[in-house]
Symmetry: C2
Subunit: 231 residues, 2 copies
DNA sequence: CGAGTTGTTGACCTACTTCAATTCTCGTGG
DNA sequence: CCACGAGAATTGAAGTAGGTCAACAACTCG
């Protein structure tokens, strides 16, 4: 994997994948880099949209609050992902908050510059549109999951999704560390219920926990849980 | 509202809103119109993507099957909307089915032509990207709803969404006719539960039913149901 | 060493789903 | 024209998943 230091210094980032040399050079003078400490927010839901972000390193959660102390984690973004692109729609405010779950660095491009780039650069717009299409696809899949799947299945699903997004290290653990709070928000269930299910899974030898790290031991069985074949 | 017969004969359709005269003329020779009978499908989930559709008249539901006899209705499309644009993402198969709930006419453009149009025409791509952004926004909102809202609130929400999408006729009824089955699939609940809630609503004077037609009598109260202030 | 936060568990309770039974609607054929 | 059956509408009753709450353990920090 070759590094690309033209736009945002990240290996294989969204922009680099585009191979749009002219644009990558153009943004060099426009982008600003920000470091985000763990637990700090890049923007909060309701904030006016001022620009768009690209994740350089770390992990960001996109989440929506509900009922003052409940939240749903919509998705995680890692190095190479776009962030805040929903601001490009009709709504001039971010619909979600973005908070770092690990120390992160993002690069920022103000909206007016980005929009004018889009209007000129069809290939960039096309690529971004594909990102949207894929995200919409994911979003709808999880919509269905939330409606029809049991909590147990949703949690199994969450584990598999995490593994496929973040991959595993040599020791077999998924390369991301999340609090139980975050795990429960991500699978759309209560803190306590998550616990009970995790216990069940560990006892049945499906997953293994070491602190905040997760290892999947029996993915076939997890898939069975998802499709409901495990009663 | 002026008619636009250049592209697909529909008043104020997606393409016309673009004001892309060159493209509208270009597609005249490429588009094909199809009439869809009520209950018939335009495409089914899993079908390979061959093109993109624009709704000319009628109402189409986009829905996903689950567990052989359960479905979730993702959204309704009416005259002027795009359909099947998710096919533009990485996935080469439609993730949802599209079925007419009222007799409909759609116009079809094959994918290769549409894609090459997109690559050339930045304004078209940009507009389509905005459609995606808005849809993604909606999708996430309803994701949150499905996770955290009670069934009662979800049904109230569904009614309000239908009114805002389809508007009301002079007699006050929402300009769309859906079966109870479809209503329950749209609000992600069981047929029977929908009933009980509808009864409750009618008795409390929040909505009125006449066959398949719906009239909202007390929207303020419905909103209260949604936010949970009505216990 | 106590006070506060964060993890862990058990018991309860309610909002739904599911199932079953009954009634209603309507098309079809005798 | 009516009887009949199939499918939808309607309602009630039962069972349960999982959210909530409250108690307790364990770990952190002054």
């Amino acid at each position: 994997m070759k590094e690309c230091r033209d736009c945002c210094d990240v290996q294989s980032c969204f922009l680099c994948r585009l191979s749009l040399d002219d644009w990558r050079l153009a943004i060099k003078s426009h982008k600003k880099n920000f470091s985000i400490k763990k637990g700090h927010s890049i923007f909060k839901e309701g904030d006016p949209v001022t620009g768009i972000y690209f994740v350089y390193s770390g992990t960001i959660k996109a989440h929506k609050r509900w009922d003052n102390e409940k939240e749903l984690i919509i998705r995680f973004s890692k190095a190479g992902d776009v962030l805040g692109h929903l601001g490009l729609g009709a709504e001039p405010r971010y619909p979600v908050s973005a908070t770092a779950v690990e120390p992160s660095v993002v690069c920022y491009i103000d909206l007016s510059f980005f929009e004018s780039s889009l209007k000129v650069n069809a290939a960039l717009t096309y690529k971004l549109m594909q990102v949207f299409a894929d995200e919409l696809h994911d979003s709808r899949k999880s919509m269905l999951n939330f409606v029809h799947m049991s909590v147990k299945a949703r949690i199994a699903q969450a584990f598999i999704a995490l593994k496929s997004q973040f991959g595993t290290a040599d020791d077999g653990y998924i390369k991301v560390e999340l609090s139980r709070q975050d795990l429960s928000s991500f699978s759309g269930t209560s803190y306590e219920t998550l616990f009970k299910v995790i216990n069940e899974f560990t006892q049945d030898g499906l997953v293994e926990f070491s602190g905040r790290k997760i290892k999947l031991l029996d993915e076939a069985m997890l898939s069975k849980v998802i499709s409901g074949d495990s009663l």
